[in-house]
Symmetry: C2
């Protein structure tokens, strides 16, 4: 067999190949409205009702590190990342199926901690854990969650509906998840050094982490913005396009622009950077803006909305207007605080298969 490395085509190249391979199956399901290429698949089980479905596979050492991640928080996060995909379609989560493959080193209590976290999060979001699969694993822990949500046809939002002239908005603040991850990685190194030098790694060594509590929570215990979706429904507002920021603000904006066939302009001064992020970035001699633009796992909602519709939600402090949608030819640009334009397509986000 000829050998073509996956790193040569990257994660999104691979997804394109997969989409074309499964395309012949789509005609079997006339109720399917959206296949691969958005945050969720969309299908119509009955007149007047749409369902959306998403799935996430979390693998030890790729998506999480048990050295720095308590199992309860991991369980909660695994639920939240799926709820976030449901929210990106402007839908409400209903049912989850949870599969785990467990290494033999795990105890019953460890599995229980994991499910306690999932169960807690599910209750908070108002969804039921309806089934799943359990098996053993020869390597690390694997968690796979599939979630099904519901939405009225007139409320469904895709990545593809953005139009030039519309406002570009984001929920919450950005950069915190990246800052939290950097701190946890630094802490892990300290921990491993202590172990290597046969020194105790005690709670006192961790004490200073307290002041970073908020950004570490952004990384370990993200909250999907179901509150924003409920606000849209309550105010009878529908974003013209939406995505959740899992890859990073810049790459996820590019997903919206690519699907909508538009450009975009965002203003550096408008990007809501998490208050602790700048301080931590300075401390670690890194750049808070880069974290806010390319840091993944934020689970905030990035959406577009016509100016006249925006009025209904303009009082909401958790929503910031960061720019506007432009014509494709104008590109996808960041206007920095000096008024210089930076081409966002040249900034890289995380790619699972990049070398």
């Amino acid at each position: 067999m000829p050998y073509k490395a996956i790193s040569g085509i990257g994660e999104f190249g691979l997804i394109d190949r997969i989409a074309s391979l499964v395309e012949p199956t789509l005609q079997a399901a006339p109720g399917l409205l959206t296949g691969i290429g958005d945050d969720c698949a969309v299908y119509q089980p009955a007149e007047g009702l749409l369902q959306v479905a998403t799935t996430d596979l979390l693998v030890d050492q790729i998506h999480f590190d048990l050295l720095t991640t308590p199992l309860k928080l991991l369980g909660s996060k695994a639920i939240s990342v799926n709820v976030s995909d449901i929210c990106a379609m402007n839908a409400l989560p209903r049912y989850a199926l949870v599969s785990i493959a467990v290494p033999s080193s795990f105890s019953v209590e460890m599995i229980e901690e994991l499910y306690q976290g999932m169960s807690y999060a599910a209750k908070e979001y108002g969804l039921a854990i309806a089934g799943g699969d359990t098996s053993s694993s020869r390597s690390g822990l694997v968690i796979s969650i599939t979630m099904i949500g519901e939405v009225a046809p007139e409320q469904l939002t895709h990545r593809s509906g953005a139009k030039p002239g519309e406002l570009l908005c984001v929920s919450g603040t950005l950069g915190g998840a990246a800052a939290g991850l950097k701190l946890l990685m630094r802490e892990k190194e300290i921990m491993l050094e202590h172990i290597e030098n046969n020194e105790p790694y005690t709670k006192s060594a961790m004490a200073e982490l307290k002041e970073y509590r908020e950004v570490i929570q952004r990384q370990l215990l993200p909250i999907a913005r179901l509150d924003i979706v409920r606000l849209f429904h309550a105010k009878n507002v529908r974003p013209s396009s939406m995505i959740d920021i899992s890859d990073g603000l810049s790459p996820d904006l590019q997903h919206i622009c690519r699907r909508s066939n538009t450009g975009a302009l965002i203003h550096e001064s408008r990007i809501p950077i998490h208050p602790d992020t700048r301080r931590i970035a300075d401390e670690l001699q890194e750049d808070a803006l880069t974290w806010a633009l390319t840091g993944g796992e934020e689970y905030q909602l990035l959406f577009t909305i016509p100016k006249e519709e925006y009025q209904a939600i303009s009082d909401e402090k958790e929503i910031s207007v960061i720019g506007e949608i432009t014509d494709t030819e104008e590109g996808i640009l960041l206007s920095d605080i000096y008024g210089m334009s930076i081409d966002l397509t040249s900034l890289k986000g995380f790619d699972h298969f990049s070398s």
Copy 2:
């Protein structure tokens, strides 16, 4: 943290603990009719329509061995095992979400082979691959598939509806999947010996496998019995309980009896053993009946049906009556060809966490 080994409570003990941990989430979803404990979760998205959902996680070295499993067949099997769970609810498969975690040693072509197999199987069953997730893996290949099916409320079948006096039936023949697995494991040993001794392992060394083609197909390329479900629908017949044989005839019969609160009696002489299985068992000095009773991954349907309803399908050669449902107190028994009773609860099937 205290340490309780999972092997101490086994796979089904673990599932019971998980079910009680997620139980508090169920009240969030009034449309959910069945949670953990059957082949699928069941919920009602709209009046007159039920959906069923199932998920399977397949992990390298636990569920498959790439040394003996071509990727196309693995892709097809991954789809079939989920279709089989949908069939066990008497439902029709509609949509699948497919997630993979891929080791860096995999090429683009290998992923394409896997998806070609999935796409081929999906087309055969008439379902759409509607979405999924891709990521890298530090260890082996992981495949997670979730499938959603549909069924009219009056056709839905659970594990729990069996009643004393009803007939116990099975589709197809049994024992073939276990025979195929044994042959593949023997072949793998021969292959590894050749490699160790630096001898070529050529096609000629494999030639004799041809005569075992059928049972190897049962293991590598199982076909879910959607044809039997379609027959039920066409003949307007509804089994009173049903399960697909993934753990083995004996353990899966015990699932039906436990959920239905009944006993059962099956007759050895009635069990349809795959014709090649006896010959292969003799050759390997193993017991074909044990394979038929405890061999997993058969993906045949085991169901119960009132005698009067059975008349409508009695001409169907692919369905065998193997016994009947009895009262709980009578136990779950096999009557062997000498008329002796064997307690099936003392035979062990596969447990992911048994030590």
